[in-house]
Symmetry: C2
């Protein structure tokens, strides 16, 4: 049986969960409190982080490398286009969300508000929370601008870029940090992606100590 | 003419320079002081960072996406193997160096010692420099362990993983932050990669205010 060692609100884990579900690769989800540095876990992954995917007799780490591997082993439905220019644009946006958006928004909001509490690492730093709340506006505007020209973020087909973005935004939505009224394109895009069967497991997540808000799993939010 | 907007000691730029040179894609190097946030530069790249590659009538950003694009457009010589397992391992290690090594080592040593001075952003934080000097040992040991089992970092062929690692280590070597006596495998590996024609431009770099140390360009260091 395939297994994904994960943390429910981690955007990197969510991106892999969405890819697996879209490609109908069955996987057992195992929650991993990686910050407790359980020796058994560190043996599986010397980088000491999630996601880790147990598949085809191997233990895979690094979400970008995992998603490319899944694309090559399970090419249908495709999450990368065929032409190098289209593939470039998907990968550029995956990096945009997993690097820039992550540093400017996710780490300032989700990690301050949730991870610190769960890991017993103190209280949110209000300077960081403010910076994250400011930065997300610019990112939502950038997404709105992309979606003015395209059906999905990287082009006219759903791709890994949409899953990377939706992974971050859905985790932030769980803690009510996304203003869906800011940009109609982004709201429509999120409604479309949220209604996919691949999204169901994500909408069912429940984090102890952080009750799921009512709009979170509502397809008509 | 292809152009690469870059900063000489940036490991992300160096990784792209090495890929371009190995594939014999000619490019004009243009130094970009991105931290000055020149409006013309920000128009080219809203992410406000280097490298940016002007090629095939496009402006490409994000070094991982650029390297995959170059691989698809210029497949020979290959920097990724053909099998999904081999490709996974290369991509895992590229992320290892560009994410984990970067956060634990490069940003603590190179950014503290060089970038802060060049950008006029103050003095090195000795706590960070110490953390970087400690972390690099563990990474050199990990590389040595990989090279016990393989000719190159990700397998028996040279790959993007070697270029990612060499990009970080060569920048750190410029500021004398690599102890080449720590691990004989790593030293042999670096001697091998340093002697490739693709490495010549990197060994010729000169940073104003930071004279090149004598051993840096010496193939018999």
């Amino acid at each position: 049986m395939n297994r994904l060692f994960h943390v429910p609100l981690s955007p990197f884990c969510r991106k892999v969960r969405l890819s697996l579900a879209e490609k109908k690769v069955e996987v057992e989800l195992v929650e991993e409190r990686y910050w407790e540095r359980n020796p058994e876990f560190l043996r599986r992954n010397p980088a000491g982080k999630v996601p880790i995917l147990k598949i085809d007799g191997q233990l895979l780490t690094e979400s970008a490398a995992i998603c490319e591997y899944l694309e090559e082993k399970h090419p249908e439905p495709a999450l990368l286009p065929r032409d190098p220019e289209g593939r470039y644009e998907v990968r550029r946006l995956v990096s945009w969300f997993d690097d820039k958006f992550h540093n400017e928004v996710t780490s300032n909001l989700l990690y301050e508000r949730v991870n610190k509490k769960v890991m017993g690492a103190g209280y949110p730093e209000s300077k960081n929370v403010k910076a994250g709340a400011k930065a997300i506006k610019y990112h939502l505007d950038y997404m709105g601008w992309l979606l003015d020209q395209r059906r999905w973020l990287a082009g006219n087909e759903l791709s890994l870029a949409d899953f990377a973005a939706a992974a971050h935004l859905s985790s932030l939505d769980y803690i009510r940090d996304v203003d869906w009224n800011r940009n109609a394109n982004v709201r429509d895009w999120y409604a479309k992606i949220k209604s996919r069967p691949a999204f169901r497991s994500i909408l069912a997540d429940q984090i102890p100590g952080f009750p799921q808000p009512a709009h979170y799993a509502d397809l008509d939010f």
